[in-house]
């Protein structure tokens, strides 16, 4: 299968020190932002970080390994339900819910991944869609556990950092940080090389000794565990979840779109895409209340037609022209 990004030099996947330093400074600014931000911007920034988590997560399987997954919503929803069920029955403390969400999704991803990662191309894409649908249907019909169509109300929690808004802000911040560091470590490690080998040619990767099945399952598990944690935080954040919201198909499409927007298979690309996408989304939601999804569709179409290698590639092209 041909890949989305231009032929890779391995070096392009390990960010330069300067890029990392800039990113580190940005992270410190984000860490301090709640001091000056009002609640609206705090909510917006929390969403940005959640989107970063989703885009980085998708990037493991869709970017590095090159398997077109449209199933992130399955694990976002599963994590949300795991967190919601355990919190509302007071089995676990609040701070543990993302950890539990991630663990449940990690295990589920390994179980689900074993069969569906044998598929390729269109068939994998369709199967990943199907997983989310099946999970949603189960959540809808298992009324005893999930409340069925009634959904679950989560009990309010004592804030861990300052106010409620700050608590969720910092929880998402920590999660985004962990997701980023995992991305960075994978990009630099042998595992990352294995991922990229599979993307370029899976049969050849197997020939040179890459355990493709194992690598794919690890990538899929990463791509599911982080959204699971994000889902668990999201559930407490909004205080109420139901199956249509938690397994929203738009989540499955937003993640790859954000990664495409920033640059698929890169370390910073998904985060850049997440920020740019949220700015679009916020402008659109504000101005086109009734045609919200349609405007998102237009954004998706424009991105695919005119920016298929992401905004970062534009920056890079300009640099190359200048030098």
């Amino acid at each position: 299968m041909s890949s989305v990004t231009p032929p890779l030099r391995i070096s392009s996947h390990v960010p330069s020190r300067r890029a990392l330093a800039v990113f580190g400074i940005l992270a410190i600014i984000v860490l301090l932002l709640p001091v000056v931000l009002d609640n609206y911007y705090l909510r917006l920034m929390t969403t940005v970080m959640m989107y970063c988590v989703l885009a980085w997560s998708w990037n493991f399987i869709g970017g590095f390994v090159g398997y077109p997954s449209f199933g992130i919503a399955a694990f976002f929803g599963l994590g949300a339900y795991a967190g919601a069920i355990l919190l509302s029955s007071k089995i676990i403390p609040f701070w543990l819910s993302p950890v539990v969400g991630a663990t449940v999704c990690f295990v589920a991803a390994v179980v689900v991944g074993l069969p569906i990662l044998r598929l390729r191309g269109h068939y994998f894409a369709v199967a990943s869609f199907g997983i989310a649908e099946v999970f949603r249907e189960i959540a809808m019909s298992w009324t005893d556990l999930t409340g069925g169509g009634m959904g679950i109300n989560l009990p309010p929690q004592k804030p861990l950092f300052g106010t409620d808004a700050m608590t969720f802000y910092y929880m998402m911040f920590i999660l985004a940080g962990v997701t980023f560091l995992t991305t960075l470590m994978v990009a630099r490690s042998r595992l990352g090389v294995a991922f990229r080998c599979i993307r370029q040619n899976e049969a050849a990767a197997n020939m040179i000794g890459v355990d493709a099945t194992r690598s794919k399952i690890i990538a899929f598990a990463f791509a599911s565990a982080f959204p699971g944690a994000a889902g668990a935080i999201y559930a407490s954040w909004v205080g109420y979840i139901d199956a249509t919201d938690a397994f929203d198909i738009l989540i499955s499409i937003k993640a790859p779109v954000m990664a495409l927007l920033g640059g698929v298979g890169t370390v910073f690309g998904p985060a850049v895409g997440a920020v740019v996408y949220l700015v679009f989304e916020e402008l659109v939601t504000r101005n086109f209340l009734k045609f919200h999804a349609g405007m998102l569709g237009i954004i998706v179409v424009v991105i695919i037609l005119f920016l298929p290698t992401g905004v970062l590639s534009l920056v890079r092209q300009r640099k190359e022209k200048m030098s």
Binding site: V126, F129, S141, F291
Partner: protein, 289 residues
């Protein structure tokens, strides 16, 4: 036992409509290598055209395919030529995301224009149900299924007999060889997408006779088209027919056993099962004959 046969009859009648849903989807997937997520919304658009033609002009939905097919062919042709041809050689991620974006636009536009209310075609003289050997046979479904199979036959003849149809099959089997034989591939792609859209919308007209119409149904139709293609194997009309009838019967039987609220779950579990066990489909083979 009567219940079993009743569900079998229901399943076959439903399956006939499913065949019509899937042939266009299967053609586009097979020839263009695109999973067309827009398919469901095009079906729903066909339903709405039939509904409004009936409500405002009194045109029977059984006749609606006569004008829906040319309109939607034109729309599909232009869409492929102007938009989808630009990415047709790209990987799944790109093509599938693009059709998803297009689906968001069309679906939201329909929601905006026609609202989310369920619409229903109400005939002034309702169709009778015939009783046969103790089974109830709803005539509207029988007629809809008959028309669906007629459309499928036309679809088959179109690919089999016409020059363009042969060119489509040639592109499907070996694109490079087709180019060497003088086939204009970009044009054939557009014609293929046009045909796929036209038959999807025609299926929509037939569905409007039997089911309520709402933009929310589109995702369910796409899901069913997937399942049928996977069940029957991609790339042949025979496969789509077997897949469609099989899905109709399996759904009816599943509903009998598990209750009507689980029909979507049954379809998707079936999909995952087949994908894992036999990804080429039950009668998978290559090429449109």
């Amino acid at each position: 036992m009567t219940l079993f046969f009743q569900n079998l009859v229901n399943g076959v009648l439903l399956g006939g409509l499913y065949v019509c849903i899937a042939i266009g989807f299967s053609l586009i997937w097979g020839v263009l290598n695109i999973i067309n997520l827009l398919h469901g919304s095009i079906i729903v658009l066909g339903s709405y055209i039939a509904f409004y033609a009936f409500t405002y002009f009194g045109i029977s939905p059984f006749l609606a395919p006569l004008f829906v097919i040319p309109i939607m062919f034109g729309l599909g042709y232009v869409l492929q030529l102007g938009v989808l041809n630009r990415v047709v050689d790209q990987p799944v991620l790109i093509t599938m995301t693009l059709t998803f974006g297009l689906d968001l636009i069309l679906n939201n536009a329909m929601l905006y224009a026609f609202t989310a209310d369920y619409r229903r075609i109400v005939f002034s003289t309702p169709f009778e149900n015939i009783e046969f050997l103790g089974l109830i046979i709803p005539m509207d479904r029988v007629l809809a299924m008959g028309l669906a199979l007629l459309l499928t036959l036309i679809f088959y003849l179109l690919l089999r007999m016409s020059r363009t149809g042969r060119a489509i099959v040639a592109v499907r089997n070996d694109r490079d060889a087709a180019v060497l034989m003088g086939v204009n591939v970009k044009n054939i792609y557009a014609v293929t997408f046009g045909i796929g859209s036209a038959f999807a919308a025609a299926a929509g007209c037939l569905l409007a006779i039997v089911f309520p119409i709402s933009p929310a149904a589109s995702i369910i139709y796409v899901g069913k088209a997937f399942v049928i293609c996977v069940l029957g194997g991609l790339g042949s009309i025979g496969g789509a027919m077997i897949g469609g009838l099989a899905l109709g019967v399996i759904e009816s039987m599943g509903v009998m056993v598990a209750g009507p609220e689980h029909s979507v779950l049954i379809a998707f579990l079936l999909l995952l099962l087949i994908l894992v066990v036999k990804p080429t489909g039950l009668v998978g083979k290559r090429g449109y004959e």
